[in-house]
Symmetry: C2
Subunit: 497 residues, 2 copies
């Protein structure tokens, strides 16, 4: 079995190397590539995607996995899990025709360029044909892999392995039910929060230097990461020793820059906390996108928007921006947590954010399930914004064209953001129980204890456990809405009375 297992390791390592190539080519396209390079890059990404797919569906690999599967009782639990992960990947890839995988990869790059142009021109109609083709391709992919289940579940599984609509609908329904009355209180409240600690005129270099200081204090290792600028911040790269984060700073509003960096650094800490020995193995990588998002949101919201955090960092923020010298702790905390319905997901506060996600989830689910034609998407988007948030986009760049995901074919990704918020709150509750002096530590700028707790309980396990198993191990129960409800209700109480 050991010989077979190491043959599996070797075969999978080469697939990981192709994914390494894809990851850097994607990062480069977003952050570095000159615009002229788009056409050639589309081909290169499609070919590498096709090769990874061909490797994963190689009959020799399938035979190897089958033999290891039959002898699984003689494998260690870790190896058994690795074989299971390869088996799932092989089964899924084998169901997807290679030409379709390449066609999707090729269309991704092109749809992305079309989306960019359409967003810039605020012209939804320009994006429709590219999105229509993407929906068609993804529906075909889902049909190929769904094994009789709902099409949307097949796509969701790419980001949240094992999760289904049947699992997440009740969670998101409950989350909506928690959020809506709180939002009504926020909107009805007469309290106005003073945003001047973050809104005004702030030097961009000083913002970047401060954000970098926070990221390093969180534990981001500079010799194993980069931080660049990009219009759509993200965290990419190739695992623990080469993490690529990006940021965007706005001279008029510091919140997006600072909390964006804490968000991406939360993703980055997860990546840097993975076991480097597993990088090229089937076990290497995050448990799921929702678990990944839980790490970013925990640092962004549960830490970065907390009073103890600001006790340490406010004096440092004042040194970076002397105009803030008279700002008080309560004032900066309130400004960091101000809530208000708005158009743009990535700028949304912690409360309304999930409504943005629920809208996208419902729309993409209906697109994939064939209940919503692409041409009606814009109308349904605007209706949804009105119903859920009480606002209407003035143009499509702040409406249906705002997100990159659908242009990249990422259907099934959005719900992982809200699941991530729920996991974050539940993990933070467990961390507080395990680290009774956490608030004192954060108030002294000591983020190490929390980081090491996350590393020990979450990061270093890679994909050894599913998201659901990990949640039970770390928090003692299945994912629910309670921890988030407690967290967000307390904030609304304090802020809007």
């Amino acid at each position: 079995m050991s010989v077979l297992y190491s043959a599996l390791g070797q075969a999978f390592a080469e697939i990981k190397d192709l994914k390494h190539g894809l990851s850097i080519l994607n990062w480069d396209q977003e952050v570095m590539m000159p615009p002229g390079g788009a056409e050639a890059r589309a081909h290169a990404l499609a070919t590498l995607t096709g090769l990874a797919h061909a490797r994963l569906t190689d009959p020799a690999l399938r035979r190897l996995v089958a033999r290891l599967g039959r002898g699984r009782q003689r494998l260690s639990p870790e190896r058994r899990r690795a074989v299971q992960l390869v088996q799932e990947a092989v089964t899924k890839a084998s169901a997807l025709p290679g030409e379709l995988a390449e066609a999707i990869a090729l269309h991704e790059s092109r749809a992305l360029e079309t989306w960019r142009a359409a967003r810039k021109a605020r012209d939804w109609k320009r994006f429709v044909p590219a999105l229509q083709r993407m929906v068609d391709l993804k529906r075909r992919a889902a049909e190929a892999t769904a094994r009789g289940g709902p099409l949307y579940d097949a796509l969701l599984d790419d980001f949240e392995p094992g999760a289904t609509m049947a699992d997440i609908d009740p969670l998101l329904d409950e989350l909506k039910a928690v959020t809506q009355p709180l939002l009504r209180r926020v909107v009805a409240s007469r309290r106005r929060i003073d945003l001047s600690p973050f809104v005004g005129r702030f030097d961009l270099d000083a913002q970047a230097a401060f954000a970098r200081q926070v990221a390093v204090a969180m534990g981001i290792a500079p010799e194993r990461s980069r931080m660049d600028l990009s219009t759509h911040p993200f965290c990419g790269g190739v695992g623990p020793d080469d993490v690529r984060m990006t940021a965007r700073y706005d001279a008029r509003d510091m919140r997006g820059g600072l909390f964006g960096v804490m968000h991406e650094a939360g993703h980055g800490l997860y990546e840097q906390g993975l076991d480097p020995r597993r990088l090229r193995s089937p076990l290497g990588g995050a448990a799921s996108m929702a678990i990944h998002e839980s790490q970013s949101r925990l640092w962004e919201n549960n830490v970065g928007r907390s009073r103890p955090f600001w006790r340490h960092w406010l004096p440092r923020l004042k040194r970076a921006h002397p105009s803030l010298r008279r700002v008080g702790l309560e004032q900066v905390w309130r400004a960091a947590n101000a809530m208000r319905p708005s158009m743009i997901r990535v700028e949304a506060d912690e409360l309304t954010y999930n409504l943005h996600i629920i809208l996208r989830y419902e729309l993409e689910r209906d697109l994939i399930e064939g209940r919503l034609p692409v041409r009606r998407l814009r109308e349904r988007w605007n209706e949804g914004m009105h119903d859920l948030l009480g606002v209407t986009p003035r143009h499509d760049a702040e409406g249906v064209l705002q997100d990159i995901h659908w242009a990249m074919g990422l259907f099934g990704y959005f719900p992982t953001y809200s699941l991530g918020n729920l996991y974050a709150a539940q993990f933070m509750q467990a961390a507080r129980a395990a680290l009774p002096r956490l608030d004192e530590q954060l108030a002294r700028g000591e983020m190490g204890p929390l980081r090491e707790w996350l590393r020990r309980h979450i990061h270093r396990h890679d994909q050894l456990y599913t998201a659901a198993q990990l949640c039970r191990r770390v928090t003692g129960r299945a994912l629910g809405v309670d921890a988030f409800r407690a967290h967000i209700s307390a904030k609304v109480d304090a802020l809007y009375g």
Copy 2:
């Protein structure tokens, strides 16, 4: 035949896509990658190299090429040339075992890291085992592909297709014979050149902005290129629409930065002048490394170190660096052309540069031919520097460890630099004959006529002609030393009397 030819095009396009991935991964490693990423990158590069090799040696491709080869009379000359290029690549790759190709790729990344550390520590001994392994691997590769000819010729062919030691030895011997008496005159001359137009204290940002302005005036299209910083400047990327140049600026000496940018922009113009429709075809790419180098050296030396160039650019340089306000045209021209034996190839003047190359050529030829053991290389280097240039390195970082090439396994590359100088002089002679008002144009800052002439006669042909064919087409004769002799003798006369 047309169906067969398009099957060939498709197969080769995927090989080009893999090379696209390799090119960006290499650029990223030099310019962007955090140090921690080296180990994973080594694996990814090795796997992609192995995949490209596997594709090139795929029996289906070999059969396709054989069938097209048998019917070559029915192909257009362009397609016939494409088939010939694939045939050569397939034959060469098939002779090289896949494991050896991957082992070399894997060792390249590691030897590179070792070389960096050894150079930093000025510790030749630390590099010896890595270099020994590289020489062994490259000798094995040469043995596999040499088909009975000399081992070194097999490696030279990777960079200068079709060239052999028998071709280049007479050229380099003649070049040495031309250079040595000129160098003796330079060394014996009592004339001292005032370097103050370039040597002193110069703002780095102003240097970069000026160099960029020159590159754009040369015709570099910003939307199809990048210019970054790296310790070892180079030009990479993936063809006409995505050119990646790098630069290095020194506050104390502007020459390396400015002429380095003109050099890399010369490479960049060649890349941007290639036919974008051929990018993924067998014909796409430069005719040879010497032709590539001719383009960089022509802009760097024949244009950038000419009086007409400075007539236009000196006033602009003065605006960028007000301390130069009293510098005259003759003064800047002399400073740009000052000659002096020195340790570092990339900082060498136009005259002594070729002696640096001749030394490296003789050493690497002897390493590969088995006439020089790696452990004696340092000693032979220092002897050679003394014999050819009359100087002795004070430490190995300015001696045998200065260049990246051998660490990357690039044996057979160095001579293309001197061949490039010879081609540059001969092409410039032809350009002058075709553009009688060239000096007036350059003196007005008009670099377009020269660029378009190069584009029309050299760049846009990709690999349609061999380097030797191209040289005959463009200049009417085979490559020789005469044009370079005339060019360099005139400079030595003017500068050192």
